[in-house]
């Protein structure tokens, strides 16, 4: 137990909690966790933005010390590792051997346990689905000390509840996941500029079939005819014959927390305009190393500090296909009107693959993600307007990114939440769960 308490990625929420560091997957629960009466929650690398990885007045089980590989089958690509292993560790070790993650989120600095508990998705959702769909099995350590191997065949109920289960069903000690073959670390990447939201949907229709990876960046300052303008990024793993270059891994750590957020209306306007016009041609094509293609922000470690001492919130919603076009336009209009632009607005079309996870976030439709500096009530008023649009369109918000949604919006977006709660380990809880299930 130590005196400091970790923050989640948004740095906006501070709660007291006790820490317990795990480093041996064979170890039984310490007496305090077993009989302490309070609740515990696994905390991996702290990349969840809000309070889904926090447990106010409870125990946090710090899992980064569980970072060992158990087994790898070079015939099938099945990797077994402890839950605190970072996706970055897997990539570093296995990319040179010709293997890649089946699904990678926008940062490689998340743990395997966190990737399962949030059932993360990536730029290939439209073909590969979520991370949890590539997990063959895992061991779940429950607070009563039982250890269960969960898979599609065994303990299927807990398997489905734990994928996307926000860490509430117990502690994942290890997991087996299937890697995929690649010829080299390079991505054949194209960036296409589009003038408005219709342009985005046309490009999605055209690209989702031929490109494994697609995602778009949206210029939030675009209004009227330019509403939803942006850059469409798409790519495939480069074939063995592709000409390759030299990749230098340059990392920079954002050195301090500035007294004020560096993200403000002026810097946003400048950044968004420059970024939209960063290429002269409408379409460019490059062979790019996988790191900048998948994890552009990982080049700046601790970039979340630039939002200043009050931190920031991310808003990520998924909207069903039928109302996707309309709701996205309404969301972007509401944000444009508020003047509270976003540094990074990401739009992507989710595909039809369905995860076994009961609380899995992705649904067949579109997803929009935006970061906002924490400006207090003004920002929360905007969030409520956005919530109304999401609710009316039958959409949902992403718990991994959320620190403020209303309980009723969560329950409307995740109709399986009651069925899920049957599988919760009574010794586990989180600030997020208490907030959305115990509030009106």
């Amino acid at each position: 137990m130590t005196g400091f308490s970790p923050l989640s990625w948004g740095r906006a929420l501070r709660v007291p909690q006790r820490l317990y560091f795990l480093n041996d997957r064979h170890a039984n629960w310490p007496p305090r966790v077993r009989t302490g009466g309070g609740t515990c929650l696994a905390f991996g690398n702290g990349r969840s933005y809000g309070d889904s990885c926090l447990n106010a007045h409870g125990e946090l089980l710090m899992t980064r010390g569980l970072d060992r590989f158990l087994n790898f089958d070079p015939e099938t690509g099945l990797l077994v590792c402890e839950s605190g292993v970072l996706l970055a560790d897997i990539l570093r070790l296995f990319v040179p051997q010709g293997w890649f993650l089946p699904v990678t989120p926008g940062t490689r600095y998340v743990t395997v346990g966190g990737a399962i508990a949030n059932d993360v998705h990536g730029k290939n959702h439209h073909v590969a689905g979520t991370f949890g769909m590539h997990v063959e099995r895992f061991e779940l350590l429950r607070s009563d000390g039982t250890r269960l191997i969960c898979s599609r065949a065994d303990n299927h109920g807990l398997f489905a509840a734990t994928i996307g289960g926000l860490g509430l069903t117990g502690l994942i000690t290890w997991a087996a996941l299937r890697l995929r073959r690649i010829a080299n670390p390079w991505i054949d990447a194209e960036t296409v500029r589009f003038r408005n939201l219709d342009g985005f949907f046309e490009l999605s229709d055209e690209s989702d079939r031929d490109y494994e990876y697609t995602v778009s960046w949206i210029d939030c300052s675009g209004r009227g005819k330019r509403l939803g303008r942006g850059l469409f990024m798409r790519g495939n793993h480069a074939p063995a014959s592709a000409p390759t270059g030299l990749h230098r891994n340059r990392e920079f750590t954002f050195p301090f927390v500035p007294p004020l957020s560096l993200v403000n209306p002026l810097s946003l306007k400048i950044f968004n305009t420059l970024y939209y016009h960063k290429q002269l041609a409408t379409e460019t094509r490059v062979v790019q190393h996988y790191e900048p293609f998948f994890h552009p922000l990982d080049g700046i470690l601790e970039w979340n500090r630039m939002y200043g001492p009050k931190g920031f919130f991310q808003y990520q919603c998924a909207i069903p296909m039928a109302s996707g076009r309309e709701a996205t336009a309404q969301l972007l209009e509401a944000i444009g009107r508020s003047g509270l632009g976003s540094f990074l607005a990401v739009l992507k079309r989710f595909g039809s693959p369905v995860s076994p996870g009961l609380l899995s976030f992705p649904l067949h439709g579109v997803t929009l993600a935006l970061d906002f500096p924490n400006r207090g009530p003004r920002l929360h008023a905007l969030f409520e307007r956005l919530d109304a649009i999401v609710r009316a369109s039958g959409g949902r918000l992403y718990p991994a990114k959320d620190g403020r949604m209303d309980g009723s919006l969560f329950r409307a977006g995740y109709p399986q939440c009651q069925a899920f709660s049957e599988w919760i380990d009574p010794g586990f809880s989180s600030s997020f769960w208490r907030r959305v299930m115990e509030s009106s």
Binding site: M1, T2, F4, R25, H26, G65, F69, L70, L93
Partner: protein, 245 residues
């Protein structure tokens, strides 16, 4: 390629060192007290690229097992180039102050077991006329402080023993490296409040591998601890005894 024996391999620093050796393709023999943890280390390091890896569960306080373990490590690896001793505990100073038995047990774990193993390794290396023995001592051994003088005196004994051993073995071409880490953020120190002087085990591990490669003598990790300990060492006793370090 080196043939490396690591004693106390499940300590956070030793595990980080083992990963560096595994990545380089060196051959390893590990000991750890818990058979389960030893097996997880072996599986992990093999996947991380270690081409040849062996191990044996051993409690370092089982002095009778030391010679046989060395025999087996040398046989399995086909020789020995480097031995790193990393086992140890961090005693609860207040509990030690109240119990002679506990104090002597801690001295046994942190000093006597090291001396037993170091004596056996030294004689082997002297006979073969080469080798590097590295032992993780501590800055705590540089001067006794009320907050951890049982640990400190055990480490002082280790440091002094190694100093003599280094002189004796120099003629035989054997290097003896005393590693003195400062504050390292590991499971052993999880209850401490962390500040800017703290380093991660990976950073300390890189320093250890470098010191062993260069056949260093006394190495502070991170290196600024040499300066800090020089200052602490220089404080006159009449003043030092009044401090609450």
């Amino acid at each position: 390629m080196k043939k490396v024996l690591i004693i106390g391999a499940s300590s956070a620093i030793a595990e980080a060192v083992a990963r560096l050796y595994a990545q380089r393709g060196d051959h390893l023999f590990l000991t750890a007290r818990s058979p389960d943890r030893l097996q997880s280390l072996i599986d992990d390091l093999r996947i991380r690229g270690c081409p040849q890896i062996f191990g044996q569960p051993m409690d370092a306080n089982d002095f009778a097992a030391h010679a046989a373990m060395l025999e087996r490590a040398e046989a399995d690896l086909g020789g020995l180039d480097v031995v790193l001793m990393a086992h140890g505990t961090l005693p609860d100073q207040a509990a030690c102050a109240a119990s002679v038995e506990l104090t002597l047990n801690e001295i046994r774990t942190n000093a006597l077991s090291v001396i037993s193993l170091a004596t056996l390794v030294a004689n082997r290396f002297e006979r073969q006329g080469r080798g590097t023995l590295a032992v993780i001592s501590s800055v705590a051994g540089d001067r006794g402080r009320q907050s951890n003088y049982v640990y400190g005196s055990a480490k002082a004994m280790v440091s002094t023993f190694l100093s003599g051993l280094r002189q004796r073995l120099f003629k035989a071409g054997v290097a003896v490296v005393t590693i003195k880490p400062g504050f390292v953020d590991t499971p052993m120190t999880r209850d401490f409040k962390k500040g800017p002087l703290w380093a991660g085990p990976e950073k300390v591990a890189r320093g250890i591998v470098r010191a062993i490669d260069r056949r260093g003598a006394v190495v502070y990790l991170p290196s600024f601890w040499r300066g800090i300990m020089w200052v602490i060492h220089s404080i006159p006793e009449f003043l030092f005894k009044r401090l609450s370090l």
